[in-house]
């Protein structure tokens, strides 16, 4: 009898762990919301919700790129620098500092994203063809990229008075719902489609699970890896554009600083293993929301901002601990 109950208990705890792995992030998010409602009566308002959706967008975009990278077993610490470069380039085009291409909004966006993708291509080529570790390759761009962003405009902030470009980030549908909500939703759906419905998505996770076996079973690992880093850089470029559009200026020294770590933290909180494999997209989405919510919480309750770092650290470690996969 005793053996059976022990087994039952073991099984129950195993199921609990599976459940936590799947929905833990959502519970944590819900818990944070409830705590906030209790702490502050002004929290439960639509304004807070819209604030959250607006502020979370850059983290959300970079995290969506990062979840692909991490589930392939890699890492991309260059996203912050790519954000800065894309923001500075868009600013330079808008203020007419790049004479060849003109100064239209569409051209600025396209040119900035193109440059971001080129940087991703640089990462991807070194990682897939030269077989250099992702962390080293993206560390190169992390170090050099920030310097390049500063060099582009001699270290100064570009301020632009382009209403069309600034309106993108300030636009509210029906005057109420910020456009960021729809942009987030759109890209979340794109990534879900990519990972769940396309062979490319399965290839990514297969490579993360076992790169050698994937290659031997005929997956073109180099091509897949290359595209992942281009996609990640593209998302980082978009994030940089939204940052600069919201602030209507591009500061190479401050845009995207520590953005890569926020994105990695969001992915880790979401339950995706750092050694690659299954990608948890909804987990990542809620991970990004949690990271942003902690900042908002600290702001709303007049707690010194430094505490938010300590909170985030505790949340990251506890979340990852609860969701870690048991290895045999």
């Amino acid at each position: 009898m005793k053996g059976i109950t022990a087994k039952k208990q073991q099984r129950q705890s195993f199921e609990l762990q599976l459940h936590l792995q799947k929905y833990g992030t959502i519970y944590a998010f819900a818990a944070l919301i409830i705590i906030n409602m209790l702490l502050n009566h002004n929290f439960a308002s639509l304004g807070t919700l819209w604030n959250l959706t607006i502020q979370v967008l850059p983290t959300m975009l970079t995290s969506l790129g990062m979840v692909l990278v991490i589930s392939s077993g890699g890492i991309d610490i260059s996203v912050g620098s790519v954000m800065a470069i894309s923001a500075v380039i868009s600013g330079m085009v808008l203020t007419g500092k790049v004479p060849v291409v003109g100064s239209g909004v569409g051209i600025a966006v396209a040119f900035a994203l193109l440059c971001a993708m080129l940087l991703g291509l640089f990462n991807g080529i070194l990682i897939s063809y030269f077989k250099i570790q992702p962390i080293i390759v993206t560390l190169i761009l992390f170090i050099a990229g920030r310097g390049i962003a500063q060099l582009l405009n001699a270290g100064g902030t570009i301020v632009f008075y382009n209403n069309k470009f600034t309106e993108i980030a300030l636009y509210r549908i029906g005057g109420v719902v910020p456009i960021q909500l729809f942009i987030s939703l759109f890209f979340v759906l794109v990534i879900i489609f990519l990972l769940k419905k396309t062979t490319f998505g399965y290839y990514i996770q297969a490579i993360g699970e076992n790169p050698r076996a994937s290659r031997l079973s005929g997956i073109r690992t180099t091509g897949v890896l290359l595209s992942i880093y281009v996609i990640s850089a593209l998302f980082a470029g978009l994030a940089g554009l939204f940052e600069s559009s919201r602030a209507s200026c591009a500061d190479p020294n401050s845009i995207g600083v520590l953005a890569e770590l926020d994105a990695i933290a969001a992915v880790a909180i979401g339950g995706t293993s750092m050694s690659g494999g299954k990608a948890h997209i909804m987990g990542t989405v809620f991970g990004a929301l949690i990271i942003q919510l902690v900042s908002i919480m600290v702001n709303m309750n007049n707690i010194p901002f430094a505490y938010s770092r300590i909170f985030k650290a505790v949340i990251i470690i506890v979340a990852v601990y609860l969701q870690r996969e048991k290895r045999s």
């Binding site: 991490i70 392939s72 077993g73 890699g74 890492i75 070194l126 990682i127 897939s128 030269f130 077989k131 250099i132 570790q133 992702p134 962390i135 080293i136 390759v137 560390l139 190169i140 761009l141 992390f142 170090i143 050099a144 990229g145 920030r146 310097g147 390049i148 500063q150 060099l151 001699a154 270290g155 490579i207 993360g208 790169p211 050698r212 690992t221 890896l225 770590l261 990695i264 933290a265 880790a268 293993s273 750092m274 050694s275 690659g276 010194p304 901002f305 430094a306 505490y307 938010s308 770092r309 300590i310 985030k312 650290a313 505790v314 990251i316 470690i317 990852v320 601990y321 870690r324 290895r327």
Partner: protein, 329 residues
């Protein structure tokens, strides 16, 4: 062995050292003040703090881990030292920050080894938390060292021993101990074994958990030491200082040939890596017209060059090592 093969072995083994020597020769020819005693000791003094962290980082990288928290730990140590200066006891100002950073490093090690959380995530958490503690302690502003003790405390970083700055001696001391440890002791080989293949090392009866915990603790202690030297040099503790030191330390170790997948590399390479970064920075200062952002661009290019060279050598069919890109990030 034909000539080409000999050159390629020479390059593989000592390529970075040759690069450093060429860099020094080039700097000596371009800037007459480069090879002066004052400038050279200046380079060494600047290397000593980032050097201490890079040595600790090399151990961590050798076990296949990574430690992002060292910059924040150094900042925390400098803040603690400055805050304690009002007691007027120099022992307190050195030992308490060291102990604090050692304990936080130990926490890193325990979380990584026992709770099995990826080193990147664990130390990312510690990076945020330690910086947060440093900011909370000081309210975000710089704390100056008490006037009564500022001269005594200042000797740590500002004094000379046999005409060489004391921090440089400290750095060399740690380097020599570390070299002895990795090359001559059994425990040193365990570090390589754990990084080379953790599973195999466990089966051979080593204790990877213990090795990891020790390595992260030592790294915390060295970060603390670097922080104390910094606050002694500035006569203040700054909660926002040492930003990005962890990435510079990783870059220095990587330029020196330590691989981030673990098990390969060593402290002597890291010494060369640290010196290369410092010499480049010094050359940019001496040149005068180049801006500071060139420093990061040139460091990045240097790193790029080294890793491409390494990967070309790795890809030779002669070495039968498995080529894995994404196995361990």
């Amino acid at each position: 062995m034909n000539r080409n093969a000999r050159i390629s072995t020479l390059l593989r083994k000592h390529g970075v050292l040759i690069a450093l020597i060429m860099l020094i020769i080039a700097a000596g020819f371009s800037f007459p003040q480069f090879l002066t005693y004052g400038n050279l000791t200046n380079i060494l003094r600047q290397s000593s703090m980032i050097g201490l962290i890079s040595l600790g980082m090399t151990f961590v990288l050798l076990t296949g881990g990574i430690d992002l928290s060292v910059g924040s730990l150094a900042a925390l140590a400098s803040v603690i030292a400055a805050t304690l200066s009002s007691y007027g006891n120099i022992g307190l100002m050195v030992l308490v920050p060291l102990a604090a950073c050692g304990v936080l490093g130990l926490m890193n090690g325990i979380i990584i080894a026992k709770m099995k959380i990826a080193p990147f995530i664990t130390t990312l958490g510690m990076m945020m938390a330690a910086r947060g503690i440093a900011l909370v302690m000081t309210g975000g502003i710089s704390v100056s060292v008490d006037a009564d003790i500022v001269n005594t405390f200042g000797t740590i970083a500002q004094s000379y021993l046999f005409k060489i700055p004391t921090p440089v001696w400290l750095f060399f001391l740690v380097l020599v101990v570390g070299l002895y440890f990795t090359n001559k002791t059994r425990a040193g080989r365990h570090v390589y074994a754990v990084g080379g293949n953790e599973e195999a090392s466990r089966m051979m009866g080593l204790r990877p958990d213990r090795v990891k915990i020790v390595v992260y603790t030592v790294n915390g202690l060295l970060a603390g030491l670097a922080g104390i030297i910094l606050s002694s040099r500035l006569s203040a503790g700054q909660p926002v200082s040492c930003d990005g030191w962890e990435m510079n330390a990783i870059a220095a170790a990587a330029i020196g040939g330590t691989q981030l997948s673990g098990g390969r590399g060593g402290l002597s390479g890291t010494l060369v890596g640290v010196l290369i970064i410092s010499v480049i920075s010094n050359m940019i200062n001496l040149q005068g017209t180049l801006n500071s952002w060139w420093q990061s661009i040139i460091t990045g290019l240097m790193l790029l060059l080294v890793v491409i060279m390494q990967s070309r050598m790795e890809m030779r069919p002669k070495s039968r090592r498995k080529l894995t890109t994404a196995e361990r990030f």
